[in-house]
Subunit: 342 residues, 2 copies
DNA sequence: AACAGAAGGTAAAACGTTTAATTTTTGCAT
DNA sequence: ATGCAAAAATTAAACGTTTTACCTTCTGTT
């Protein structure tokens, strides 16, 4: 392995000079600069990043603390972070809590959660990361702020306590989607929500209500039913909504929308023609089911990229970004909302 | 940040002693050992991994070179690698080539591919990784062996040249699946393959033929049709197979199986009762479609874990593992092959 | 009482960098 | 030629570890 020292020897200069050249510092004659560059190339020199980090006391690296790498949205967010880091020559290292693998959909109790985070964070800090991005799925208290508060921290996709967070804009997406249903001719819109205590469920509900209000369509609470994000609840509640005579159903996630689809096909309701249906999340299944499901795509990549931007700004300038950044979603119209008749 | 030095001062010993204790070396009185451990705990000491790696000349870290993180199987493989590393106190760092994002389903030309790999590998080597696992989707020549051959290297999910590779066992899975179809009563099995030059397609085909042979069922080449992994080809070719009077269809991936499903529902063929259908890959969609699709699950996690085991053995013992490790798949029976009648 | 040997401990060098302080070289005006 | 500032290059220390070689201090044996 070529080192700065072997280059120095070969080029007959001191290691300090080599270091300057390699770091683009001024104060080196153009001639020697070229010589050194050539030698470095020739020896296939690669800087030892560990040595650099050691000297600097900090690595040009951020840590990514992911609740679960194998959950559908995580890789895309990481991809965004990676691109954001790349732009400024930062690297990232990944710590995976494997929460979903370990505990399924239920979150672990706070103590267990904290212990896992602490362990991962200790490793990251051992590697001298300059900051950490937490990729989580929910909003919660993270009980380690006190201990690690010297460390720049940003939340992606979720919100944690008082940390800068980057999330998507549920409510606006929901507003726009509702507006679209109205434009398409719906006037009785049924909604199937997530559990009552879910923040996402609440903001999506707000979006719908605001849109109805703005368009002077009365909001009928009887058409809003509480599901649990699972397919079965979609099936069950769709039946009720159909009985109530809705001409559009907004399922607050794609999963439940699949249940609605099942119910409709069982009852012979033609989704897309007789009934408009939208989901939320833009999971793969939306393109696979028939009719294809109109839905809302989350700005996952952008969340990652923005979070990276925030953490890097926090690192280099020390100034905290806005506490909450909301990124816009995009409505994706597919067959389940395109009304074939005029 | 507490260092070995601050511990030494606080405990009134030399840093060498502290180092010994922290590394579990012998030759330290139990009393001092406890003292040092206490002080370390108290100061919240975290070893500086960069310094360690620098001293050692190598990091206890492996590099993961992934063709594309956002492709469905990659995260699960990484998860397996992570667990494998964890067991022996190794870490990993991720380099993502973003091949799919950049080039879609077509591979880049070899020169571009090599350049991307070289760049990523240089970064990994700058971090002194002890070895590299390549996660790819295809089998190909990787043109950098000559340059980096000092570096332990293992391929996961794909095979590359003469490198140790960990893959899943297509052929056996295909054999088993065919056997199952036969047991369920099928005697005219249609197969929809991938492109003719695909290795996976060939081995899956072999599995089917061997199973037919072993069970004394004649193989009718007219019932094997060549698709292109895409849903549309499944639809199109299913029609031909149904016309030919098959009572089971084996689509070589889930995607094409979805096309078959479409075709069947268009023609009013009851999948699961009148016709058995299986796919391959166990994508999410298999549980979402109706009837749910029987398919073959790939041992992604195990591939990762095994690859990690191989690279670690290669690192610590220098002895290369078997050139090709094939891991078994598991057949997952769902509604599309369970024949309701006796 | 002397001493070998073991046990416990330490000093110092090294890993590959960066950087502040310092020295040497260069170019230029006198 | 001489002096002097600016430019170019060098020296040496430091980052946090590990490790080799060495030095004390015991312990037990003769």
């Amino acid at each position: 392995m070529a080192t700065i020292r072997s280059i120095a020897k070969q080029a007959n200069v001191s290691i300090a000079t080599v270091s300057k050249v390699l770091n683009g510092k001024t104060g080196v004659k153009e001639e020697t600069r070229q010589l050194i560059l050539n030698v470095a190339q020739e020896l296939n020199y690669r800087p030892n990043l560990n040595a650099r980090s050691l000297k600097a006391g900090i690595a040009r690296t951020i840590g990514i603390l992911a609740e679960d790498l194998t959950v559908f949205n995580t890789p895309e967010i990481i991809d965004g972070i990676a691109v954001g880091c790349d732009r400024v020559g930062y690297h990232y290292i990944l710590a995976n809590l494997r929460l979903f693998k370990r505990f399924g959909h239920r979150m672990p109790d706070p103590a267990t959660h904290a212990a896992l985070i602490r362990e991962a964070l200790d490793t990251l800090l051992s590697k001298q990361v300059a900051g950490v991005i937490y990729i989580g799925s929910h909003s919660h208290q993270v009980p380690l702020l006190a201990e690690y508060n010297e460390l720049p921290f940003v939340c992606a996709y979720c919100t944690c306590d008082t940390l800068p967070s980057v999330v998507y804009d549920d409510e606006t997406a929901s507003y726009d989607l509702t507006e679209r249903l109205l434009q398409n001719g719906a006037d009785r819109i049924g909604m199937i929500t997530g559990p009552v205590d879910s923040l996402h469920s609440m903001s999506r509900g707000r979006g719908l209500m605001r849109a109805l209000y703005d368009h002077r369509v009365p909001y009928n609470p009887a058409l809003t039913l509480t599901g649990d994000w699972e397919r079965d609840s979609g099936y069950r509640l769709a039946a009720q909504l159909l009985d109530a005579g809705v001409n559009a159903i907004y399922a607050q996630n794609d999963n439940m929308a699949m249940g609605v689809l099942d119910c409709c096909s069982a009852r012979g309701v033609a989704v897309g023609r007789e009934l408009q249906l939208v989901g939320f999340d833009n999971r793969d299944i939306c393109q696979v089911c028939r009719p294809r499901l109109s839905t809302v795509a989350l700005p996952l990549f952008e969340i990652g990229q923005t979070a990276a931007g925030h953490i890097l700004k926090l690192i280099s300038e020390g100034e905290p970004p806005a506490l909450l950044t909301k990124l816009p979603c995009t409505f994706i119209e597919r067959e389940s909302t395109i009304r074939k008749e005029g």
